[in-house]
């Protein structure tokens, strides 16, 4: 077992809207070991991106951390004042590749200018030194270092995504959160970016949280996978277990809904209904209105995560 670089305990982050709190992250507990990739999967609105933002210490307004603890390398970050977070934690200890970040590059500045900003502010580097480091990181992600002098519009989508990855890595954070890093890309480019992330993981020993709705991509890179439903982790374990012996009915149904490239599937399964409104989540197990095996107990009591196998946990009364 490796060293735990991130420990999240009973984390709750609610969005306080005028209609009441939306329980986007509701009592979530997990760990991340050094050099490990944890995949976080679920349908839209299940709270997976909200976890990413919360770990960065910047839940999107009107969201607030209600309770729980986030420890990065043993240091508690919940409750730290904003200026400490900004100076010492965010981007230095934990960084994030945002969904669609490649389209957020500023069109009027060169790539280099945008990449060296954190180095100058956080590390107090000189311009030349910072530029050299930026070039080193561009090379690391498989780009020509001369790109520092180019503007975003001169690059293709795949190249921009590589720039964004390099920027997230440039302060050498302990943890990188990647939120749908390949979603807007074509399959060939997507495969290239996944290859790049695999290489970086090996070379730099990156610890990463990989957030996506696409279970196929997740299988390509994750050591462990957590499946989220309606703000909760319903199953977490080593990827081999999750994909080959899923324990939770939701995971089973999700996997049965994926069309396979090289297998004949007579009929795809789907989950009737839609995910619940998190203003008013269902009582008991949140999946019970859509679950084919729902019993009375599921409607009344909330299941806790139980160990079904070594390191493999699921929250379901059937187990």
């Amino acid at each position: 077992m490796g060293r735990k670089i991130l420990e999240v305990r009973n984390l709750k982050m609610y969005y306080f809207t005028s209609r009441g709190p939306v329980k986007a992250v509701d009592d979530v507990t997990f760990d991340l070991e050094k050099g490990e990739v944890l995949g976080l999967a679920g349908e839209s609105g299940c709270g997976k991106s909200s976890i990413g933002f919360t770990l960065m210490g910047m839940p999107q307004p009107p969201g607030r951390i209600v309770s729980g603890s986030i420890k990065i390398d043993g240091r508690e970050i919940v409750g730290l004042p904003e200026d400490v977070l900004r100076r010492e934690i965010r981007w230095q200890k934990i960084s994030m590749i945002f969904q669609g970040a490649m389209n957020a590059l500023n069109p009027v500045y060169t790539i280099g200018y945008q990449m060296i900003e954190p180095l100058i502010y956080h590390k107090g580097m000189e311009r030349e030194e910072a530029l050299e480091k930026a070039m080193k990181y561009l090379e690391l992600v498989g780009l020509d270092p001369e790109i520092v002098y180019r503007y975003p519009h001169e690059l293709s989508g795949g190249m921009k995504q590589r720039v964004v990855i390099a920027t997230a890595l440039i302060l050498e954070p302990d943890i990188v959160i990647a939120d749908e890093p390949t979603t807007a890309l074509d399959v060939v480019v997507q495969a290239q970016i996944i290859n790049l992330m695999k290489r970086l993981k090996k070379k730099l020993g990156l610890s990463m949280i990989f957030i996506t709705h696409d279970l196929s991509i997740l299988a390509e890179i994750s050591d462990r996978v957590a499946i989220m439903y309606a703000g909760k982790i319903v199953e977490i374990g080593p990827s081999e277990k999750i994909y080959n012996e899923p324990a939770h009915p939701y995971t089973q149904k999700l996997l049965a809904a994926i069309p396979r490239l090289h297998e004949d599937v007579e009929k795809l399964e789907f989950i009737p209904g839609s995910p619940p409104n998190l203003l008013n989540p269902p009582s008991g197990c949140r999946f019970h209105p859509r679950c084919p095996y729902a019993m009375d107990r599921c409607r009344q009591e909330e299941p806790k995560l139980v160990e079904v196998d070594k390191d493999h946990y699921a929250a379901c009364w059937l187990l």
Binding site: E43, S44, S156, G158, D186, V187, V188, V189, Q190, A191, Q192, I194, N195, K198, R199, H213, D214, L215, S216, I217, L218, A219, E220, I221, S222, D223, S239, E240, I242, Y243, N244, K253, L254, L255, A257, I258, P259, R260, L261, H262, D264, V265, K267, L268, E269, F270, I271, P272, S274
Partner: protein, 335 residues
């Protein structure tokens, strides 16, 4: 074989690129984006024909040409033997639109947010003058909603689109396409914006409608896995041309063209056993611009099997590699 429902012959669509003042003063020749550059295929009754490719390969433009939302630069489109490119008058085009309907990618923006579901479905009926009385139209609307399993329809007709989930909205979009009882449906990425579980639901529904109602589809997608599941035929497009075409399973299990092979290698699969393997992708570089299409085989700068003097000089012809399996590559069968 029976007469195809849709037949496309050597279809071309070039979009002019705006020249600068200087360029036009110098008398430089105008440039064109060759979005669709000589595409031919046939779709038979009650079959699903998938156009697969990456962004910018011309698959959506082909769909729009078939819908007659764009006028082709060259080439012919026949629907049930009738030459579509010859349709000129408003009435002719309107009659054509009744036979060919479209399902769009985004169910959120393809519906008027101020229309109730009833109005969304009534509009095509009013435009085409179907159903004399309100009661008649209402019956058609209820029937269409039942067909796509929005039940009971009474409960939904007075809702606005934002009150439905993504999957329900896409069902309504399908109902709207079906209500005119079309012979042909162009579905442009109908499931790519939906979550996995809903995606399966919509694919199942479209498949069921094909079998029950005899709908014929042109299915436009970037996703080879759903194409394999839903389509009978797959055509892979690259830079405006079909490079490989054949029965869905045959193309996926026995790809001939180097581009198809690369695409298939790149598709991620839900199999964690390969997580530490770095997949070598048999493809180089990036897609060139459709303004400057490479000479010879347009795939040659990216091809790992490139043969100098052949691939960069001579344009390959479409050949029938095996029964019904067409490929456009000089090296077909040799690699």
């Amino acid at each position: 074989m029976s007469e195809p429902v849709l037949k496309v012959v050597n279809l071309k669509k070039y979009f002019p690129v705006r020249r600068g003042l200087l360029a036009s003063l110098r008398g430089e020749p105008p440039k064109f984006v060759r979005a669709v550059d000589g595409v031919s295929f046939e779709v038979h009754k009650q079959e699903v024909f998938a156009l697969v490719g990456e962004s910018g390969c011309g698959k959506t433009t082909t769909g729009k040409l078939v819908m007659k939302l764009l006028e082709p630069t060259d080439g012919k489109i026949y629907l049930e033997g009738q030459d579509v490119t010859e349709l000129r008058t408003k009435e002719e085009i309107k009659a054509y639109r009744r036979k060919v309907q479209m399902i769009f990618q985004d169910p959120f923006s393809s519906m008027n947010p101020r229309f109730r579901i009833y109005d969304v479905l009534e509009e095509p009926l009013l435009i085409h003058g179907i159903g004399e009385t309100r009661a008649e139209r209402e019956e058609l609307i209820y029937k269409a909603l039942e067909m796509v399993k929005i039940v009971p329809p009474e409960e939904y007709v007075h809702r606005f689109p934002h009150m439905l989930s993504g999957g329900q909205r896409q069902r309504v979009a399908i109902a709207r396409a079906l209500i005119l009882n079309p012979t042909f449906i162009v579905a442009d990425e109908p499931v790519s914006m939906l979550d996995v579980s809903i995606r399966a639901e919509i694919l199942e529904l479209m498949k069921e409608l094909k079998e029950k109602m005899g709908v014929t589809y042109l299915y436009i997608t970037h996703d080879l896995s759903t194409a394999r599941y839903f389509a009978d035929w797959i055509a892979v497009m690259y830079l405006g041309r079909i490079v490989e075409m054949g029965p869905a399973k045959e193309v996926i299990d026995n790809p001939i063209h180097p581009y198809t092979r690369a695409l298939l290698t790149a598709v991620p699969e839900p199999d964690p056993s390969r997580k530490d393997v770095i997949k070598e992708l048999p493809i180089k570089g990036e897609v060139p611009s459709a303004v400057n299409i490479p000479p010879g085989c347009r795939f040659h700068p990216r091809c790992v099997y490139f043969q100098k003097g052949l691939c960069d000089k001579k344009e390959p012809q479409m050949i029938e590699y095996s029964h019904n399996h067409w490929v456009e590559c000089h090296l077909a069968g040799k690699i």
